[in-house]
């Protein structure tokens, strides 16, 4: 069953997405995909709150009581991104170690479904990249759409 997500607006290049989180407060948020230097098609996925000064704050913890919906919204942009950039690699990590661990738990929970259509890797703090293992500790995660038939 698909999880509820917020209505998104995106830039024409599908590298920036915006939505309003409606929980205790209404908070405007943005999701951005930033090219990683030295790679033709690797991008870092980041999201955060838009501040009063009009920039994105990636560290703010808004605690708006809608975390699952916010996360589902962020995840929904991945398929839109891959439609536009089909063979790209997405890298993401939490803004804090606790958030990175939280993402590991979420990936682990969704792994059976995720791996049917995506390759998921974990980046270890010694720079090694390995296929995602739910019990391993990572500093970030890599995801790419799977095109081959084998699983």
């Amino acid at each position: 069953m698909e999880k509820p997500i917020y209505n998104l607006k995106s830039s024409a290049d599908k590298l920036r997405f915006f939505f309003e989180s409606v929980g205790t407060n209404t908070i405007q948020k943005a999701i951005i995909y930033t090219p990683i230097e030295g790679y033709k098609s690797a991008f870092e996925l980041s999201f955060g709150d838009i501040t009063d000064d009009g920039f994105i704050d990636f560290m703010n913890e808004s605690n708006n009581q809608d975390f699952e919906k916010v996360l589902a919204t962020v995840i929904s942009t991945i398929s839109v991104f891959f439609e536009k950039y089909p063979h790209s690699l997405i890298y993401f990590r939490g803004s804090t170690p606790a958030r990175t661990r939280l993402y590991r738990a979420i990936i682990a929970k969704q792994m059976q479904e995720l791996k049917l259509s995506h390759l998921i890797y974990g980046l270890k703090n010694d720079g090694l990249v390995e296929e995602f293992e739910k019990k391993h500790t990572y500093i970030g995660y890599l995801i790419q759409k799977r095109y081959e038939k084998e699983v």
Binding site: S11, R16, T26, Q28, I32, Y39, I50, T51, F58, Q144
Partner: protein, 51 residues
Amino acid sequence: MKKKFDFNNLDEKLMNEIYQKTLKTPQYQEKIQETNRLFKNIQLPATLIVK
């Protein structure tokens, strides 16, 4: 909470303004530099085709 823009009227120009402002923040610069540094030193598995 004060809204920073009218979501219904959010257009390409405003999206770009927000992005451009974000690019200049130390927080974003630090984050991107850290990622770029990290990716200079990692070896991606052959199954991940990115170059």
